[in-house]
Symmetry: C2
Subunit: 383 residues, 2 copies
């Protein structure tokens, strides 16, 4: 049997073919009008993708680079900040803050559960934090956090608390009213809903955050928001950018404009709903049943079976790569992605493949039941 290799991981995600072609053809210089035109269009289209009037800054790095920038550009040694953490990426905010000598306090929730916004709001009410950090969607566990409630609590308590959101898997999968809710820094990454490989990071930055930079005293050089904003006015990056990825991104953003930002989010949501229904019909448990995100679905391995074995079986039989759990969740859960360039037929295919893989591993289940539950979600949406 033939077997096509396909990504079902929450980053990297399947590549848009037009973007792949543009990447391969990118033998151009970054200080030319040709590239400046593309770079300007990319920054402009990123604002559309974000749904914001704020400037969006682009770095050549992984998303972590832009997370780091939102600390080194905005704070000073010893500043008190709050982190809402319920997974590996929340923990990264804590590590980053401590690496730069901030006074980091953390409200955490067990893996699989969201950080309760009321607890964060109570802390924020003191008005003593210079910033609050969270994930829009915590992709290590498949949880959606309530960015809106936390932002409103920050705004109500103090004009000075910056709201900094890792939306690397949230953008393009989750409705975020960045300007309405007052999200001050929103981080994105190229290999997620943007349909191109990793290597570019983004930050949408509010006026309040630009003002804060005037007085921030942490050291920085490569990841410098103000230097990038200044260069971008001339259609350039401050340092040599990843031209091939920028060319690919221009194509991906053109496609996203055609599809429509809201439709892209709806696509992920429908796939997520169908997948949750499908795995439920197979008797599998969701890892984050209370506040699941739509970027991906985290599923618990059935009793007596390692998720690693399921992932391996699906991959070796059908070429489909799901993600394992990270850290202590490894072997316990598997994750199916919906963010970016996925269509509904692939959503059906991964469920059908999962059913056959579980069957091969000796799990008793009604073949076809997961796919059927997903089909019913599809039909409901059509009426």
């Amino acid at each position: 049997m033939l077997r096509k290799m396909r990504l079902f991981t929450p980053g990297p995600t399947p590549l848009l073919p037009a973007a792949q072609r543009a990447m391969a053809a990118a033998d151009l210089h970054h200080r030319t009008d040709e590239f400046r035109r593309v770079f300007r269009s990319v920054l402009d289209d990123l604002k559309y993708f974000y749904g914001t009037a704020n400037d969006v800054i682009l770095f050549t790095s992984s998303g972590t680079g832009a997370m780091e920038a939102s600390i080194s550009n905005l704070f000073s040694p010893g500043d008190p900040v709050l982190v809402a953490a319920c997974g590996k990426f929340g923990e990264r905010w804590v590590e980053l803050g401590r690496a730069y000598g901030l006074s980091v306090e953390c409200v955490s929730a067990p893996y699989g559960q969201p950080v309760p916004p009321a607890v964060v709001a109570e802390k924020l009410a003191s008005g003593r934090y210079q910033g609050v950090f969270l994930q829009a969607t915590e992709s290590s566990t498949g949880v959606r956090l309530d960015a809106r409630a936390m932002a409103e609590a920050a705004r109500a308590a103090s004009g000075d608390t910056l709201v900094i959101v890792d939306a690397i898997t949230g953008l393009g999968t989750t409705h975020l009213d960045i300007d309405g809710w007052g999200l001050d820094v929103v981080i994105g990454g190229s290999q997620k809903a943007l349909m191109i490989p990793p290597g570019l990071a983004f930050a949408g930055i509010s006026e309040r955050a630009w003002q804060r930079m005037e007085t921030a005293r942490l050291p920085r050089y490569y990841f410098d928001f103000r230097k990038e904003r200044k260069a971008s006015k001339n259609g350039e990056a401050a340092y040599t950018p990843s031209t091939a990825l920028v060319m690919g991104l221009a194509e991906a953003l053109r496609y996203i404009r055609e599809v429509g930002r809201e439709n892209l989010i709806d696509n992920a949501r429908l796939l997520a709903q169908a997948t949750r229904a499908g795995v439920g019909a197979l008797g599998l448990k969701l890892f984050a049943p209370d506040s699941p995100c739509d970027a991906l679905t985290a599923v618990c391995a059935p009793d007596g079976l390692e998720s690693t074995a399921i992932i391996k079986e699906v991959r070796s039989r059908f070429g489909m790569s799901m993600a394992n759990g990270q850290g202590s969740m490894k072997g316990k859960i598997f994750r199916i992605a919906h963010l970016g360039y996925f269509d509904f037929a692939e959503g059906l295919a991964i469920l059908g493949a999962l059913e056959l893989a579980l069957h091969a591993l000796g799990v008793k289940l009604p073949l076809g039941a997961g796919v059927r539950a997903a089909q019913e979600v599809y039909l409901q949406k059509q009426t």
Copy 2:
């Protein structure tokens, strides 16, 4: 007339076709055995490309990111360091050191001249510097610095002075005996002699430098040498790497192994010699006649003509992009690159195109004389 667009800039440089194809095909996950195999081979082949037994670290960033890392990972606030600066990239070392609160002293030379190694050696003899920073080749001016003499002076004076070399355009164009001379950190970038687009940076790191990191106290997170070395033992990057560029780099390094590192350097040297002979035969002056590097040739515009006009004429007539001067050198010089995927026929073509462009701009010159001088260099090498 048809016109093919071609880069003659000292980064980005022409892309290796096999690398372009590999980039476009890079729809794979970075935490898989398939990618780990490629990543390991890339790190191993980079050691070959560098000609070092030291570990080479890879970052997803521009070369500046690795320059920054060699400050934030190796020094502590207030450390005294020396910079040898004779161009825009030397000045970047000064800026970087100051951004991180080092006590930076600078020995400089006018644009177009190398920093005299004796002056640097005299300073280093005090043994008081924790590090000395330089460029192997200063690509803003086309100058080669004497990295060997400066490294020897550092070694003679003190076991503690780290020698940190920006070899972004030096690698693959200049003989550097990294281990023999004791170069502690050697920085590289993907869009130079490595024949792929920008977006990856490298650092070859000596045992002395790894030891220094134990006590260095500057803040860092994304650019962390030790975290990357640890991850690389498992064939991984600490943070999601630019997979497409890594796949392209694997192909480029395979090609460089086939060609041979020394032959790649000789190729650049021959092109540089031929170009210097060619522009000389046209009556043009070299900007760095005393210590020219082989990565590129910087040429002064003839009296009464802006280099900008020459660059524009060559590009609009023949599709060939040379580089302008940077900063105060803009309009005064143009730069022709030799680093990476250039062959001798292209060296002849750019000279022939330059002759016709200068002729069109009213410069009196013996058509064909530049090409002929280059051909004579070729013939001398063949005998």
